[in-house]
Amino acid sequence: MVSELQQHMQESFKEHVNEEYLMDCMRCGFCLPACPTYLATNQDETHSPRGRIALMKAMRDGDVVWDGSVEDAFDMCLGCRACEPACPAGVQYGVLIEETRVAIQQAKPKDLMEKIVRKASFDGVFADQKKMAATVKLVQFYQKSGLQTATRKIGFLSLFPPFMKEMEGVLPKVETKKKKPPSLKPRTMRVAFFAGCLMDTLFQETNRKTIELLEWLGVEVVVPKEQQCCGALHGHSGEMDKGLRNAKANIDAFDSDDFDYIVNNAGGCGAFLSEYEKHLVNDPHYAGKAARFSEKMLDISSVFVKLGMNARLKALKSEENAIVTYQDSCHLRNVNKVFLEPRSLLQDAPGFEYKELIDAGSCCGSAGIYNLLQPEMAKKILELKMKGVRELQPSKVVTSNPGCLMQMQVGIQREGLQKEMQAVHIVDFLYDAIQKNQN
């Protein structure tokens, strides 16, 4: 007999997961070598895009019994979307996994969820005063971002304390303000800056430097006050309605003809921001506004390249020649297709020689809050990543996203390499390279 949960789950999959998108997958397997979890599990098809799509379809069709193993297969997905550019059939995997998470979230019995949250809270964070103190900083961020309810439901707090121990060491330190570089006159462009909730709390310095560098390149920067968290983490956790609530607020906050671009400096946010259009295409009130918003969205590296930063970097000379490498932000690369621009900036940075990291385009295991939810798999993936870093021995590992930055720094510390190298955000890297070599 089919259980009530099974029936409920199947209906939820039918309601939320698009059958036509599922049918796009012809199971050729071209996605397999691109998938970090498939590789990290010694080629377990269950943890591949093709396997997950087959499971989604089987859930719809009633061909598989919903149990922990099926749930685990979906939970284990990083959402890095490296499978999308690898897919000749153009399967919209990102949409499918988001819809799957909504389907699960909707059908899962709530009392069980509450039990998990309770266990996590009382046995985990609240049981230990030290752990609590370490958690506060990030918790503030989660409260501020409105993510609290979303993340509670998925019970991530139980995994928080052990990860926090490592995280604490890699959180950015507030720097003292240095001399501002002189800016170009006259102003060539006007942009609106999307600050991002994490970037605006834990990475304030990076945001300040982003604005200063833009001004240095002759751009006028405005920071709309009413902006909110982009909503990506909600969207990726099966809370798309809440993600879209934030989306609408941001669209309203940036709805002005007064600037040429909306600039962001976090790859994960940028991808979601650029997909507001896709998510709101059927919204009568917001479809047009969302399209305008997404069209104006641009990541910081692309803006720097557009503004001619490469030439200005080349003009600066340095005697030093340290190795710098780059770890792609999955969403910047796979969703926004931006990977040449950051590399070109690093190639032209004074005092550094750029070397490509092996599999730089493959996920580091951060993946939003994945490293909190799936610490074991995240660790395996990070270990694979660090193998390449160890071989290359760079002095800087540059990233374009706060999550990747912290994850790479955790990796460096686990390897005991923190004296030799450092993970830095591309804005901080460029800012320092310019400041150091400017007369």
Partner: protein, 470 residues
């Protein structure tokens, strides 16, 4: 699953190398073939030949089916466990064991990815030519079991031309070693040829020695576009008639060009009816001469434009596009069902024309691409498996394609294998006596039918079509 089934196998391979969760059984229930799916009872990842022997012995005594599976890219349902049982994986047997530069051989375990092997030998200035389109994913074990072809088959042949030695676990658990690093070997029946391409129905391959050749010094790639499929097909025949054997002579029709362009965005002309990708390798002087001649022939046969890849990178991008053709076509309709009909290369123009007529006759959408130089075409039906009426027409159209291919002196499958999908048509090619002989071989080697049962041999042969013209 019967909980006791896993027990004896767990003690052989260990807890971490056995899979049987709900999700895992589903994830190993398919390959790249549309419309075939069945769950296994157990998935095992042995670490060596000895473990495979023990597994097979248990299976033989309990009559449990075993399906060997590389990466599951099979296109004829050859790796779908349609009778349940055990799916055997080679993810723990994926090491390159020895590169022998004196005998020009490489010995590997079956789980090595084809592309990885190719990259490895090229670093040593050696060359392993077989390059199936799925080579980034496919395993050498799968290639040997299917006798896979590829883009370079025209000049360099297919997998079987490179297999020098095999270690096989037979259905009774005995280990058989065939061949060696030998240039010549006529000791007895050519059993190796029997095992290569046997689609896992006669035993389990556990070690493979392959022949390598020196890496060609230079290669160049030309492209020609045409206003009609037949102009392209005539070009192919004419190139061969001019005594040029290029490495690659690949063909894509308009529908395929459009789908590949949707995926790759490399500026292929969507209005061209057909495209030929022509590659030659060897010493620089001859490569130049052959490419120029091929381009001149294409122009003479009516090519609307011709060009040369400006660099190896560009040539690589074009070939990547061609390799992605089948999957890219999946963009157009929910289901893609492809065929692998092969004719003598002199008949390629006629075959192409027949495919067009068949598509019209049954009102089905067919896009064609393939290894034109080999006479090996991949007419692909774009359809929707949920539409029963359309699926019937698709099946009729495909059956008629087989029929025409055989009439032209061809075969029902050039490189994808028979599997379960084409089993009902095998007798069309082999005749009753051919099937009987094959069955006799199968029965004497695998009397309990535990090795990939249900493949090659159909319960029933399809009725041969009676074609009414007009």
């Amino acid at each position: 699953m019967d909980a006791n089934l896993a027990k004896p196998f767990t003690s052989i391979v260990g807890e971490s190398n056995i899979k049987h969760s709900q999700a895992q059984l589903l994830a190993y229930s398919y390959d790249a073939t549309a419309n075939f799916q069945a769950k296994p009872d157990l998935i095992l990842s042995p670490k060596n030949t000895e473990e495979i022997r023990e597994i097979v012995k248990i299976c033989a005594s309990k009559k449990i089916p075993i399906v060997s599976r590389g990466s599951g890219t099979n296109l004829a349902a050859g790796t779908v466990p349609t009778q349940g049982g055990i799916v055997l994986l080679f993810n723990n047997m994926n090491r390159i064991l020895e590169l022998d530069e004196e005998n020009l051989t490489i010995t590997v375990q079956p789980g090595v990815i084809t592309q990885d092997l190719s990259n490895f030998v090229e670093k040593h200035k050696l060359f392993y030519p077989p390059d199936p389109s799925s080579m980034k994913i496919s395993t050498i074990g799968g290639n040997v079991s299917e006798n896979s072809g590829g883009l370079r088959g025209l000049k360099y042949g297919v997998t079987k031309d490179y297999v020098k030695a095999l270690t096989i676990v037979l259905p009774d658990g005995e280990v058989l070693k065939l061949g060696g690093k030998l240039a010549k070997d006529v000791a007895g029946y050519d059993l190796m040829s029997l095992l290569v391409g046997a689609e896992g129905t006669l035993g389990i391959i556990t070690e493979i020695t392959l022949k390598l050749i020196p890496l060609p010094i230079s290669k160049k790639t030309g492209i020609a576009y045409f206003n009609s499929l037949e102009d392209a097909a005539r070009t192919v025949s004419s190139i061969i008639a001019h005594k040029i054997i290029p490495v690659t002579l690949e063909f894509m029709d308009k529908g395929t060009i459009g789908a590949v362009e949707d995926f790759m965005n490399i500026g292929l002309p969507r209005d061209a009816e057909a495209m030929l990708l022509m590659e030659q390798d060897g010493n620089a002087e001859q490569v130049d001469r052959d490419i120029q001649t091929m381009i001149a022939i294409a122009k003479k046969e009516g090519a609307t434009s011709t060009t040369m890849a400006s660099s190896n990178e560009e040539a690589e991008i074009l070939k990547t596009g061609r390799r992605a053709a089948l999957s890219a076509l999946a963009r157009k309709r929910p289901t893609t069902i492809l065929e692998d009909a092969t004719v003598p290369r002199s008949e390629i123009a006629r075959m192409v024309r027949a495919i067009q007529e068949i598509a019209e006759k049954y009102n089905v959408q067919i896009s064609t691409f393939g290894h034109a130089g080999d006479g090996n075409l991949h007419p692909t039906c774009l359809t929707d498996v949920r539409d029963k009426e359309e699926m019937e027409r698709v099946e009729q159209a495909l059956a008629e394609i087989f029929h025409v291919a055989l009439e032209l002196g061809g075969t029902i499958t050039g490189e994808h294998g028979v599997g379960e999908m084409k089993a009902p048509y095998l007798e069309w090619k082999l005749g009753a006596s051919g099937i009987d002989l094959m069955k006799a071989i199968k029965n004497s080697i695998d009397p309990f039918n535990i090795m990939n049962p249900g493949k090659l041999f159909a319960k029933e042969t399809k009725m041969r079509l009676v074609i009414h013209n007009g």
